[in-house]
Subunit: 341 residues, 2 copies
DNA sequence: CGGGGTCCTGGGAGCGCTCTCAAAAGGGGG
DNA sequence: CCCCCTTTTGAGAGCGCTCCCAGGACCCCG
């Protein structure tokens, strides 16, 4: 039972004294006890217990140059990314994996370019061992701010072209997933397959368009409508599609939210899904997929797993064990068939 | 322009040498420069700039015993609290205020009792100067875990009875706000005013019930229905209410989400709002209030402000300037009149 | 022009820990 | 039983910074 000491916290020195060993030996025990004989280990451990000793983190960091903390940089350019379920899942994965590595999550909330100076100084100040960031918009200056800090970084999502290509990232196989979705539609015998895409400044949206084109090399431009990943934009895009191409019989929508909107429009226009128009989404977002009518066929990606992977990559970077820079990881996707296609 | 030094980061010593002053003086300048003559300040600043000096955080913490970081403890008992807009606003306020104080936010994500040991050790380990936590359910063991760490803490929301009463908290005036809402309904000439409450293990829900009873001392129990703060539960409670008390002409709902559900039920049952039944919510949640038909009259609370206040209170605790323990803060609420009442 | 402040500055002692290196202890073979 | 090698332990030197304190510079007034 630790003593309820009111005074200053006990130091390693105190533990060593109590155990009758040197500070060095006490340190060894506290750090795993390799190379110390059992009886001494026992003594030190008892002293630690009795004194309620907890290592001083700052002192340890000062000499080891490691502080067991990782920054997660959240940029909130315009929307409420924090309450985005996609994002939440990823952060959850990160948090869990970080815990497994006994590392802490320091949240860096960036609200605008005015914060860049602060962030840069913080990252460069040795407060954290590394950083995790998310590539959002290609016009964002944040990646370069992070790079300037010369600190190990892993991105979530493929960064926009122009970002230092040596920075590893974790992303799902957007292009492959899109291909699978479109092939499924083709396999269903659909002839006029459209695509409702995301904003062209996000690499995930671009990659999904590429996947669509990979399969439908000669797709007519009139079959391509652009949305912005919101439900509303999906509904609108579907309406436009129906107006221009009444013959459309299949749609691959770049995310579930827009697919939900598209489904709504289809219902309002009296089109049967999947009989008249088959719909495939992307993300397999639980909160959307279940409530959709009919249930949405979509491309699944393991978002939490991607978060964990980001941490694993960063840890490998920090250990330096993986010779050189670890390669980026593209996680697999899989088509989940439900009623809409 | 900072030198692109590849080697080890420059130390204060290096800065002092370059500026031709002592380490002590360099330190003084770096920390504000009080009591140093202008020309020397100038010289040191230039050296800092030229060397690209950034203070070593660990070394500083080692001697000052302050590390400029605050833990935000997020317990996720069952639901996705992280994506809760209420919560997001509060964390945003915390983040902003922390930034203003030049302090960092360390996110501690608690997923279950299994994490308590880890959290406790972390908080007690001197990694952070203080902690911010949210009082969620009265049966949660977390508050006591935090208390055990003997670290300054401020709660968001009034803690359940049984928690150490000396721990300061920030909460809005739930009871007063509820009173105002009910009085408004009374002022509208409503005779049979019902209340749809939140779960009884949350103090905010209890306080709002109290406020309702303060005004309607003799309210019949049949006018009180319990929900769980979800839209669905609000819809259900309203339906039950209508079944038992068809004469109800006013409802105070304990939060906007449930009020939105109640409004839906009212519409489905063909009751006009506010003509037949006037409805008042609580929270003034932007994402709900705007989309409701009719627009929801509700009790406004400054959620982001509460987050900021939590930080301010904690900072006062840490400074020790406020003699003794700062008092908890109850922030005011205000009725926002829209169409529903 | 000297005395007594006041204001600045530098020296140096740690903060608590890790880690290197040398000394001590233990062990085995000749 | 002694010597050499391996394992275990301890002494001590920092890590980079702040802060106390003493000494020097400077200033104003008599």
């Amino acid at each position: 039972m630790p003593e309820q000491s009111t005074g200053p916290r006990p130091t390693l020195e105190a533990v060593a004294d109590r155990a009758g060993v040197s500070r060095a030996t006490a340190s060894r025990v506290v750090n795993g006890g390799a190379g110390v004989r059992a009886p001494l280990v026992e003594k030190v451990l008892r002293a630690v217990e009795e004194l309620g000793y907890v290592p001083n983190h700052a002192a340890r960091t000062l000499v080891t140059r490691r502080n067991g903390a990782v920054a997660v940089i959240i940029a909130e350019p315009e929307f409420r990314i924090f309450s985005d379920p996609f994002f939440e899942q990823q952060v959850r994965g990160i948090s869990r994996e970080l815990t497994a590595h006994d590392a802490q999550l320091v949240l860096l909330w960036v609200e605008g370019p005015g914060d860049h100076e602060r962030i840069s100084r913080y990252l460069g100040g040795g407060h954290v061992d590394g950083a995790l960031a998310f590539s959002l918009h290609s016009d964002d200056a944040l990646p370069s701010v992070i790079e300037r800090a010369r600190i190990p970084v892993v991105f979530g999502g493929r960064p926009a072209p122009g970002t230092d290509p040596s920075v590893p990232f974790v992303d799902c196989d957007n292009r492959g997933g899109a291909r699978e979705a479109v092939r499924h539609l083709v396999g269903l015998g659909r002839r006029n397959i459209a695509h409702i895409s995301g904003p062209p400044d996000q690499t995930s949206a671009i990659d999904r368009i590429h996947g669509y084109r990979d399969v439908l090399l000669d797709a007519d431009p009139s079959l391509l409508r652009r949305g912005d990943f919101t439900e509303e934009s999906g509904a609108r895009a579907m309406a436009e599609l129906l107006d221009r191409r009444p013959d459309v019989d299949g749609v691959f929508v770049a995310n579930d939210l827009m697919a939900s909107g598209a489904l709504r429009t289809l219902r309002e226009r009296g089109a049967r899904v999947p009989e008249d128009v088959a719909v495939v989404g992307f993300d397999d977002m639980a909160s959307v997929v279940d409530r959709t009518v009919p249930a949405l066929t979509t491309v699944h990606q393991d978002i939490e797993g991607m978060g964990r992977l980001m941490v694993k990559l960063l840890m490998r970077l920090l250990d330096g064990s993986g010779s050189g820079v670890p390669a980026s990881v593209i996680t697999p996707t899989s088509l989940v068939r439900r009623a809409s296609a």
